[in-house]
Symmetry: C2
Subunit: 145 residues, 2 copies
DNA sequence: ATAATAAAAGATGTTTTTGTCTTTTATTAT
DNA sequence: ATAATAAAAGACAAAAACATCTTTTATTAT
């Protein structure tokens, strides 16, 4: 089990992929995205449909259609994608699964977790969907294998 | 989705619960553990059977039997329980699900993740199963609700 | 030895996650 | 208008996670 669901992993790789194509001035089809990030095509389609409904990615149907990102979406922090897909449980729920864990009524790991996941959260708030385009083009970072 | 599997959450709550009873000098039965940590009894039984096989908790059958922790187990870092149940994926696998993600061939989040999860890892290495017994007795920390 | 106890093991069921395949709808170029 | 294109939506299936119930085995007290 990774830190995110498989669904979320695909979503994140996909938005990075779409961002890169977008700044090149192109829309990109589901087939190309799926093969570009090594994900099951139809499964990814569902994920992107959902993100589109939520306004996190943009799409148009028909010839020359495909997915893309508007300026607002390119500037979006990664955490918005994660919360849209996996919810905010990773940042809010008790590490031991307690319903009412809080600073008033903490589980043994409460304070330790607080620090670690605040860091995770602020990291994911500071990273944007569009910030890796150049690194992706240069091959400094990758989205498959 | 929390950071750990449900199975792992139950395992962690259970070992804390057993630790507390152990230092009081008692073995504790599965029924009492399950109700003490609010978990499904038979499901927890499986989990503890597995941890027993791995030597992470101890048990004896029959009257006056039950689960307990020897000195070595009481001193065990929490990460050993987590790795026994969920594996080490949380600390090793790529956040975006790439098979070959590394510093040589990083995903966009590679370096950011490295820092956060090294912190998580060292936190879980420094906490021991037996270190919350007093806080549990005083009600400063809790294992259910 | 026997009965009672409690973990271990086995069988089975449910729900969620992940994945595939087909049909429909919207858009564009001709 | 029509045909081609590509996302959207729907139906279905496999696998994994989560959960329950029953039977067996080991241990202890009598």
């Amino acid at each position: 089990m990774g830190i995110f669901s498989k669904t979320c992993e695909y979503a994140l790789r996909a938005v990075f992929f779409i961002a890169r194509r977008t700044v090149e001035g192109n829309r990109v089809g589901i087939k190309e995205i799926a093969s570009g990030i090594d994900s099951p095509e139809h499964f990814l389609a569902k994920i992107l449909q959902d993100l589109t409904r939520r306004g996190i990615v943009q799409s148009v149907k028909g010839p020359n259609g495909g997915f893309y990102l508007n300026q607002q979406s390119l500037a979006r922090p990664l955490i918005e994608v994660i919360e849209a897909v996996d919810g905010d449980g990773l940042f809010r729920d008790c590490g031991l699964g307690l319903k009412e864990c809080s600073s008033k009524n903490p589980c043994p790991l409460h304070s330790g977790f607080l620090e670690v996941r605040n860091r995770l959260q602020s990291m994911l708030e500071s990273i944007t969907i569009g910030q890796f385009n150049e690194d992706l083009n240069l091959g400094i970072v990758v989205l498959k294998k």
